[in-house]
Every structure is written in structure tokens, then in C-alpha cells.
Amino acid sequence: MIGPQICMLIPVVYLFGALLVPLIGWRRGAAGWGMALAAAAGAFFFSLGGLAGVLQRGSLSYHLGGWMPPIGIEFVMDPLSAFLEVVITGIGLLAVVYTRRSVEHEIPDRLMPFSSLALLVLTGLSGMVITGDLFNLYVFLEISALAGYALIAVGERPASYAAFRYLGMGTVGASFYLLGLAFLYMTLGTLNMADLSRMLAVTDVSATVAVGLLLLFMGAALKMALFPMHGWLPDAYTHASSAATALIAPIGTKVAGYILIRVLLYLLGAGEKGSGLPLLSLLAYLGAAAVIYGSILAVCQSELKRMLAYSSIAQVGYIAIGVGLNSALGFTGAVLHILNHACMKASLFFVSGGLRLRLGHSRIPRFTNALRRAMPWSSAAFALAALSMIGLPPTAGFFSKWYLALGAIEQSRWLFLGVLLFSSLLNAVYFFRVLERMYLDRPGIEPAERPTSVARHEAPPAMLLPAVALSSALLVIGLGNTWIVDRLIGPMIPGGM
């Protein structure tokens, strides 16, 4: 029987894994990596169990130390957090599988600390999602952030500076969050989320509370790289090692998005009360700007990882639009897009790491159609994920866009509809640019210069399989999206929508 203890198990498995990795892997990094893999698999298993438990019996809540919530810390698994846990631990597991070969190639001799830091990132992210206490959330946020800064800092030469900027922005974000929490705590007297939302329901939202929420919003938005607070992201994702990017990019920003959903829609209460503050509209407009800005800049990039980074900025904008629409359909689209984008982006970054391993670079102008012959499966995984990013049916990407479009139309927010649709075209532009080079002959090269026969030189299975698995998952998610929407997302739609 699945009890509430399962909430506790997910971060704790990661936590002890992270502590054990240096002990086991001090001499041999690979052994440490094995430990990390075991921990990641365990956490994935428990989060599936948690999701099943939530589906069966509704929200689970675990009181740490046995103290009742406002007194002690509470871990809560409601439909939203259970869903996100599965996303985080699933991507986390695949990323850890992927890590070994990639790290050994790009940053040799650092597999042990890398594995440990990867588990720490996952500890932080899973803890942020599952905790029911706003200060505890801050602690987890810092754990994941610090480990993330370190992971980003090692890679190409400019990585250390990129990571420093990430650290600066991240610390500012965290300070904003903590200051906003101070305002809320001083005016409402509690740190527990459930308690706080009950308090907000009975009291008027004063200017102080509003500013407190605004600060939380800004803190989360900085972490989420929401336009115009995205400055740290492109450099960080480009210069970090592929394994680090593949771990952080798909889920890091999503969890920040989760904080926004939690604070704006659950704490504040959706519907009437939520629309009283302009924060949701602000979020939606910033999201729209992010979508356009990110997509346009992605078109201009010549380095694959950098292009994907800008595309992340845009995709985060979709989530922001969905949340900002403040309606059931928009919310559905946003949450579905969290899942879809995690899968798509992870797959794309996995492939880009594979390219770096085999080609030694990931610069788009240097791709040729030798790639397709040398790495057919990687290319196919990339193509499928790219089609999903563009939003072509029946891949998953289409359906999140579909719900977002329905939500925008339902509320007659034509601007957002236009942005959503226009951005699909921009996505098509920057992805087809890559696909064209991957799959087609480049005219202008003399036949003599073309490689006549290209040996099969596929990425190693441990790096290939995660990408292929995620890309195939996109089709499954696309066709099975009703099940996800009805069974998983339906119960988590905040009251008042």
C-alpha cells in the first residue's frame, strides 16, 4: 500500500545517493556514477508509486518529525506535484544514464563530483516540488541552484564566467524570493503553503502582500529565465558540458515555473482573486514577449546548443502564457507543455551532446548530410523532437499548443493566439535550417568533395537510447494526451477556474 511516506522518499533517495557517491566513487568515478544511477532509478520508481497513490487516494501529506503543518514542515504530494515529480525523476534518470560517456569525453576525471552534483540538483528540484513549506522550498532551491552553478561552471573555457553570471542572477532571484517571503511572513504570520492560502482567502490583499507576491514572482521568473530576465541562460547552456545542460535545461526552468503556478494560482487562489492582481496578466504578456524574442534570436544562432537555449527561453514563454491565461484550458496547456518541453528539450540536448562526442562540434553551418548516414538514429530522434517543437501533429508539441490556443480563443485573447501561431512558424524556420543540413546534400559542394561512403558512427548506446526513448515518448504522449489531461491534469486544475 502506498502511504504518505513516499513523499519523503524521493528527495531522500537522491540526498543519500549524493552523499554516498563521493564515498563510493572516490577512487573510481564509474562506481560513483553507478551509485547515482541506482539513486535516480529508485527515485523514479518512488515517484511513479507516488503518482499512483495520488491517483488512487488523492493528495498525500507527510509531516516531517510528526509535527502538524504550521508547526513543522510538511511534504505534500498533490496531483500537480506528483506529476512534476515523475517528470523530474524520469528526465533525471535518463540524464544520469546519459552522463557517463558524455562527461568522460568532455570533462574527463570529474565523473564522481559530477554525479554527486547531478543528484544534488535533482534533490533540490524534487524537494522544491514536493515541499509544502515556503522556507523549506528556499532551502531546496538553494541546493539545486548551488549544484547547478557548479555543473554549469565546467565545460568550455567561457563556462566559468557564464556560470558566474548565472550565480549572480540566481542569487538575486533567491534573495528576491526570500525578501518576498519575509513580507508575506510578517503580514500573514505563516510559512506553510496551505495555511497561507487560507489566510489569503480571508484577508484583503494589502499593498505589502502584493509586493511580497511580486517579489516571489520576480524571484521565480529570474530562475525560470522569463523574458526579460533571461540574460544568464544562453551562455550558461552553451558553454556548459553537454551532460550538465541536458540535466538542467529540461527541468530546471520548469520547476521555477512550478513555483509560479504554486504561488499565483494555488496560494493566491485562481479565478476572481487571481485576476484581482495584475501579476497573471503581466506573466502572460512577458511570456508572449519571451516567445517572440526567443524564437527570433534562435533563428539567428549558428551554434546548436545556443539555438536550443534561445528556444528554451521561448518555450518557457508558452508556459507563462498558459499560466497567465488564468483558465482551465490555459492551465492544461501549460502543464502539458511542461511535460512535453521537458521531453523535447532533453532529447534535443542529448543529441547535441552526441554530436559533440562524435563530430567534436555542434555548429550548424558545418553539419552535412553525412550526419544522417553516420548517425541515423540520432538524426531521427532529433528530427522527431524538432517536429514536436514546431508543433506538428500527432506529436506531443501540437497538443500543448492546441490547448493553449483553445484557452486563448476562449478568452478572446487574440494577441496570445497570434503569438502562439506565429512562433510555430519561427520554430519551423530554425529547426528546418538544421534538418535541411542534416538530411540534404548541400548544393555548391563539388561532387568530388563529397564523402563517397560514410561509415556508421552512431553515438554510444547510453547516450543514444535516452534521446530515442524521449523522442518516441513524444508520439505516445501526443496520442495519449487525453489520458494525461483527463486523469492527471484534470484533478490539479485549481479551484475557481
Binding site: F135, Y138, V139, E142, L146, Y149, A150, A153, R157, P158, S160, Y161, A163, F164, L167, G168, T171, V172, S175, L178, L179, A182, Y185, M186
Partner: protein
């Protein structure tokens, strides 16, 4: 007005401190100065919590047998103190990690002045 200032001067001061820290992060070119700014900002938040714990007529939250524990107004609020112990540790560790990064940056580019650094990055790319 006087009441406002008497009751809130600390908070105004701390808000100012927060902004000073933020200013340093945004505008200072030297990476060490940025870190100092970061530290100032974090300290201001920590002080925010700590000063919110203060109660007129309260004493430190250590059991005083003469006062008893029936009336919570006689002790300062212990919760923010505890929270800030954690926040301080976080701030310290952040400092440590950022120092490590600065060392790494210096190893790679032999400068920690941002304008110079950006130039060298551009040259490299």
C-alpha cells in the same frame, strides 16, 4: 508620520541596503565587488527577518524560569532566528562557490574586471 518612522525606520534602512547590494551587482565591473554586493543584499534580507522577530518588552528566546512560557509576548519570536541560521549558511556557501568560480575565471582569463573579461571573451570567439 513619526509613528511610521519609529516603527519602520529599520525596514526602510534595510530596503535601502538591499538596493545598494543590487546596485553593486548590476553596475560594478569588478567581479569581487559584485560578490560584495551579493553579500550585502543577502545580509539585508537576513536582517529583515531578524528584526521582524523583535517584540517590545521581549527577551531572547531562551527559557527564563522567572518569566515562564505561558505568555509568548515575553520572548522574541524564535522562528526567524532559526530560519536565518539556515539562510546564513546558504549565503556563506554561495560566497564560497562564487570564489571558486572567480579563481577559475582568473586562471582562464587572468582578470576579474568585467569589461576586460568581455573583451578577452570576444577575442576568443
Amino acid at each position: 508620520m513619526i509613528d511610521l518612522i519609529r516603527g519602520h525606520y529599520v525596514y526602510f534602512f534595510l530596503a535601502g541596503l538591499f538596493l545598494i547590494g543590487l546596485y553593486a551587482i548590476m553596475f560594478k565591473g569588478n567581479l569581487m565587488k559584485k560578490i560584495i554586493g551579493m553579500s550585502i543584499m543577502q545580509s539585508s534580507v537576513i536582517l529583515f527577518y531578524v528584526s521582524s522577530a523583535y517584540k517590545d518588552g521581549g527577551t531572547v528566546p531562551v527559557l527564563d524560569p522567572r518569566r515562564g512560557v505561558e505568555n509568548p509576548d515575553l520572548y522574541l519570536n524564535p522562528l526567524p532566528h532559526c530560519l536565518m541560521l539556515t539562510a546564513i549558511v546558504v549565503a556563506v556557501v554561495t560566497l564560497g562557490v562564487s570564489f571558486a568560480m572567480i579563481i577559475d575565471i582568473y586562471r582562464n582569463y587572468e582578470t576579474i574586471e568585467e569589461p576586460l573579461l568581455l573583451e578577452r571573451l570576444k577575442d576568443e570567439a
